[in-house]
Amino acid sequence: MVKKIFGQIYIWLILIIMYLPILILMAFSFTDAVYVGQWNGFTFDLYPALFQNKEIMIALGNTIIIAITSALVSTLLGTSGAIGAFYLKKGFRKSVDLVTQIPIVNAEIVMALSLTILFVFLGQYIFHAQLFSFWTLLIGHVVLSLPFVYISVKPKLQQMDPSLYEAALDLGATPKTAIRKVLIPEILPGILSGFLLAITLSLDDFIITAFTRGTGLLNGEANIETLSTLIQATIKKRPVPAEMRALTTIIFLAVVVAVVCVSLYRYYQGKHKKTHAQERMSKL
């Protein structure tokens, strides 16, 4: 009993402390003070201001474009890589697994630096041009999220009944059809979670973006700004800009909605499975 009370107090205490900075930021999104701690009276003004702030909107747009394209590319590449590697001979498979591990355990800044060196090197000696652009940024983000797609798909392949693929061939499917109609649907949950992971990683990234970006996207002739680079540049010497506080509230609410949706989905899925199991039991 003592343990239960102590445990619950501990859990909630840490939770509140963890959310404190964000909650404070959210609270001060309803006043137009310059910095946190100064209350200038309640107002919603920051919210329209946020949507009128061109800089932030451009950064937001860029962030979303990069997140979606890089997640799509890494999902496609990572899934096919995981499937291919799964059917390689053991030695080859082990080396693919090993190289895949590198970006996961490696310091992000080292990956960022190594990519930068590569792009400069290629630009100087091979293409004789300045390579930094949306494409290098895209490659950077794919390097970041590709391994995570690979490791989300791999366990699904291992769990799959190996005779499913053979069954498809047996029923007249060519290898390509068998992969499309049987293998992919089987590992779809892994592919989806890989995709979501890729989006999350891309949205959050600062270092790789800062190193590999060039001009383009919504910034046109200027360097591509994402939310991360924009916020980083503005908060270096000053407090978080007032409009950003409104943005924090919006992102936070979006996250909360997402968490609630996922929990509800899981809850109903669990219930669904249960009823099926009961149905089967009653038949026996």
Binding site: I14, M18, A82, V96, T100, V105, M111, F206, S263
Partner: protein, 280 residues
């Protein structure tokens, strides 16, 4: 039946039969990507680390690193702050994960998601929020740069510690714990002899998820210490901005070596785990 067998005849006559597509070929684009954008860049780092501005082979960066006191200092501070962050995160996260996974204390799975949820709010924004709060509380980079950095690191990496620890705690064999207390072990003995050994895999992966990222982090120390604390990550960023490529590459190489060592360690651990799993 007749047409069927002639169809077979036709195909069979097309000898030698060539299988055009095999599943393993799907790995080719992926492997090319890995070679181009992971292996070659790392080789380039090694190349730049051991060459000078003209591209000739040179130990200048190495000698420069080990003779410049500030650089070695940066390495030690980075290791020190990473160790401290890891330890603090473990001390906070371990009991938390234990309570979260204990059905008697917490039955709410959403609560666990809440601890992970901050990861979905932009990391730079979170760092800014922490900085603003600390400034409000008068713990700013001007007064306490080291403390502010440490708090910022802990804030950021706590979720990464909680997640692996929680997954391991879920797998704890609670009946073993009950049996131990039943046999007269006091709570402390139960913890040392039973819970701790069972949760080692979670601790190892929590450490790998915190230690290296902390050492190499750039944004947190830069923002929270107002540029007063320089870690390896900041130094590499600085070298990169000043196009001091060779020095930056050598520092990156040092980090790579540390990563390599930790990777070896965790791989061995994993192998042992999987072996252990097989016997069960």
């Amino acid at each position: 039946m007749k047409s069927n067998s002639t169809a077979i005849q036709r195909v069979a006559n097309k000898k030698p039969h060539v299988v055009l597509f095999q599943r393993k070929y799907l790995c080719i684009p992926y492997s090319i990507f890995l070679i181009l954008f992971i292996i070659i860049p790392i080789l380039l780092i090694v190349y730049y680390a051991f060459s000078d501005a003209t591209g000739a082979f040179s130990f200048d960066a190495l000698v420069g690193f080990f003779t410049t006191w500030t650089k070695i200092n940066v390495l030690f501070i980075s290791i020190f702050i990473a160790l401290q962050t890891t330890l603090i995160c473990l001390l906070i996260g371990y009991p938390l994960a234990y309570f979260l996974a204990d059905k008697k204390v917490n039955k709410n799975a959403v609560l666990v998601t809440l601890f992970i949820a901050p990861m979905w709010i932009n990391f730079v924004l979170r760092t800014g929020a922490t900085r603003d709060l600390l400034t409000w509380m008068n713990i700013n980079g001007g007064n306490y740069p080291y403390l502010a950095t440490l708090i910022g690191m802990t804030y950021n990496y706590l979720p990464f510690v909680i997640l692996p620890l929680y997954t391991t705690m879920l797998k704890l064999d609670r009946s073993q714990i009950e049996a131990a207390s039943d046999l007269g072990a006091n709570p402390f003995q139960v913890f040392i002899k039973n819970i701790l050994p069972q949760s080692v895999p979670g601790i190892v992966s929590a450490i790998t998820m915190t230690f290296m990222p902390t050492m190499s982090s750039y944004v947190i120390s830069d923002t929270l210490s107002e540029g007063k604390i320089t870690l390896l990550g900041n130094y590499i960023y600085l070298d990169f901005s000043n196009t001091a490529w060779n020095d930056g590459s050598f520092m990156a190489l040092i980090m790579l070596v540390i990563v390599g060592i930790s990777m070896l360690f965790t791989r061995n651990k994993e192998n042992q785990d999987s072996k252990g799993g097989a016997t069960w």
